[in-house]
């Protein structure tokens, strides 16, 4: 079924994709380009409102691009939306399961929409329900399912027609830890199959854990694209040291911290605001900085605390860490992901 078209090209190809909404002053997606080879797990990482969901919307024919091109499985999403729909499956953030029928029927009818032969869809439904730990509940209607269970049903449903590209929008947002681990395990199993996974997330752990490559998005633009390891390696230094003080501070403190031996560079940390408004200016909040280090973080705690007290500040909190994708995001945008 998935072999109707040649499989040698990239699974997804996006060139200068733009989405402009009529009443918005800024583009929701602002000239994004990337290419995803078949079989890859590709993560779109960014805060809410970064344009991830809109990008996926365009790739899945539900949002019409204002400019640029997008191909899924070699099919142009604008020129041949019906052909594109054959190539993809979507697992949305919120449940859109058919509430009038059982979850087994959800799977079976989905396959029927996609032309899977009757016998095959029954067998496949049971197989997938089993794989996703839902076989004993296959006759229940979706109303009685928790968020994590609905998510599993939706992933199983998406796999019913053997799509070439599977889009998952924030697959574990709002799930409890156990449910999240279960979904992650299933997604890791999918890596072994030849389906291409594109997942959007604002969870750096999820991106680092699952994705072969991660694209970091903010304000509709692609800021960086590489493997999680390469993105982290691109940061100078080996580790990080995050300091919080009791009072706001001026640039002199940052300079003094940057002057310590073993510090590669210093980054003030702003708390990300939920609604995308500009955060309050850094110098009105108690100091919060992250030091990117070339050496051992533990050795720098004492000298850094000394610098702070020289400037009349008291150290309130210390966090040692090896750099993560979150640090990459902070390095690129000066903000945290959440």
């Amino acid at each position: 079924m998935s072999g109707e078209l040649p499989t040698d090209g990239p699974a997804v190809e996006v060139v200068d994709l733009v989405k402009r909404y009529p009443k918005s002053p800024v583009n929701a997606v602002d000239g994004v380009s990337f290419s995803v080879p078949a079989g890859e797990v590709f993560g779109l990482l960014g805060p809410n409102g970064a344009g991830k969901t809109t990008t996926v919307g365009m790739l899945t024919t539900r949002v019409r691009p204002s400019d640029g091109h997008a191909l899924v499985g070699g099919v142009d999403v604008v020129g041949d939306p019906v052909g594109a729909r054959k190539q993809v499956a979507v697992v949305p953030q919120r449940s859109n399961l058919d509430r009038s029928i059982s979850i087994r029927d959800n799977l079976v009818f989905h396959a029927a929409y996609h032309g899977v032969p009757a016998r095959e869809r029954l067998e496949r439904a049971d197989e997938l329900l089993d794989q996703f730990g839902l076989l004993d509940r296959s006759g229940d209607k979706p109303d009685f399912f928790s968020g994590g269970q609905s998510q599993r049903v939706m992933i199983a449903r998406a796999l019913m027609h053997a799509p070439r590209v599977l889009f998952l929008d924030e697959p574990t947002t709002g799930l409890d830890p156990a449910a999240r681990l279960f979904v992650w395990d299933r997604l890791r199993e999918l890596r072994e199959s030849d389906v291409t996974l594109i997942l959007t997330t604002h969870d750096m752990d999820e991106a680092a854990l699952l994705a072969d490559r991660v694209a970091i998005m903010d304000h509709g633009r692609l800021l960086a694209l590489d493997t999680p390891e390469a993105l982290i390696d691109s940061l100078e230094g080996e580790g990080t040291l995050e300091l919080a003080a009791d009072l706001p501070a001026d640039g002199a403190v940052l300079e003094a911290l940057a002057g310590l031996s073993g510090v590669a560079h210093v980054e003030p940390v702003q708390m990300h605001t939920e609604n995308g408004e500009a955060p309050p200016p850094a110098d009105s909040q108690p100091l919060r900085v992250r030091l990117y280090l070339t050496g051992d973080a533990a050795l720098l705690v004492a000298p850094a605390a000394a610098v702070l007290s020289e400037h009349g500040l008291a150290l309130q909190d210390v966090k040692l860490g090896t750099p993560t994708l979150e640090d990459v995001f902070i390095d690129l945008t000066g903000r945290t992901l959440r």
């Binding site: 090209g9 019906v82 009818f109 929409y113």
Partner: protein, 267 residues
């Protein structure tokens, strides 16, 4: 850049998807048959009982009133059933359940998803209207029936279902979920009482302004065409005018409705 399948292969895929979605709708209706019947039959049944039977038994209506009421109630059932089949589920599916997304992602043009909804509404409308025939016999003892009026009867029901589906598509895509209550009070009730189902249109000459109001409701022409088919002795609007107006109304409603559907389906 890729081998394109023969067009007829694509068409086959699209029709298969269309049929599968229709199958799902019929499957759900079949499994919820009692609820469906209650939803569509109860209202005309009570109208028929009170206006046709009770008022008649109390001598509050003239003899023969039930005969001109019955075709009107068939028209009402036909239009409102089609409308309800589309409007409420659409508001919910686009608004909060998002159930429609799985169909919009099926390998068929977006217009097919809308067309399936319309066809399904017509099927439900036909079933509901046909059930009214034995119900009418049961309540009234006999119903007006002319075999020679059958072609006009079927045409009237079909166009009535399409008008209702057009209204449903329009409302289902225009109405915001939080305003779904307004749909009832501002749309259903006026449509119900200005559609000439309880009175023949020419008789309204004595109430000129109301006659003008009812002329603006497409359901009026469904009622009048069914009267023309079943009780031609009652003064009614000539059938050809009814059919013409209905075709025009359907074109307008469907054009705007499908446009609304696309607006909700594709961002």
């Amino acid at each position: 850049m890729s081998a394109v399948a023969a067009p007829w292969v694509d068409r086959a895929t699209e029709w298969r998807a269309f049929r599968a979605v229709l199958h799902r709708d019929l499957y759900v209706t079949w499994r919820e048959l009692p609820a469906f019947l209650a939803q569509v039959i109860l209202q005309p049944l009570f109208l028929l009982f009170v206006f046709g039977k009770v008022l008649g038994s109390l001598d509050l209506t003239r003899p023969g009133y039930a005969d001109l009421l019955f075709p009107g109630l068939l028209a009402l059932t036909s239009v409102l059933t089609a409308m309800q089949t589309l409007a409420f589920p659409l508001v919910a599916e686009f608004g909060w359940t998002k159930e429609i997304e799985d169909r919009l992602m099926a390998p068929m043009p977006t217009a097919f998803v809308a067309a399936e909804k319309v066809l399904f509404a017509i099927v439900r409308s036909f079933v509901a209207t046909l059930i009214m025939l034995p119900v009418g016999v049961l309540i009234l003892g006999s119903i007006p029936w002319r075999w020679s009026g059958l072609p006009l009867f079927v045409a009237g029901l079909f166009l009535g279902a399409l008008v209702g589906a057009g209204f449903g598509l329009l409302m289902g895509t225009l109405v915001q979920p939080q305003r779904i209550n307004l749909l009832f009070s501002l749309v259903f009730t006026p449509l119900l009482f200005t559609g000439c189902s309880q009175y023949p249109w020419p008789s309204l000459a004595r109430l000129r302004w109301f006659q003008v109001v009812t002329a603006a409701n497409p359901m009026t022409y469904v009622s009048e065409s069914l009267r023309g088919a079943l009780v031609p002795s009652v003064p009614h609007i000539p059938p050809w005018i009814c059919l013409l107006v209905l075709v025009f109304a359907i074109c307008v409603l469907m054009t705007v409705g499908v446009k609304g559907f696309y607006r909700r389906a594709i961002d």
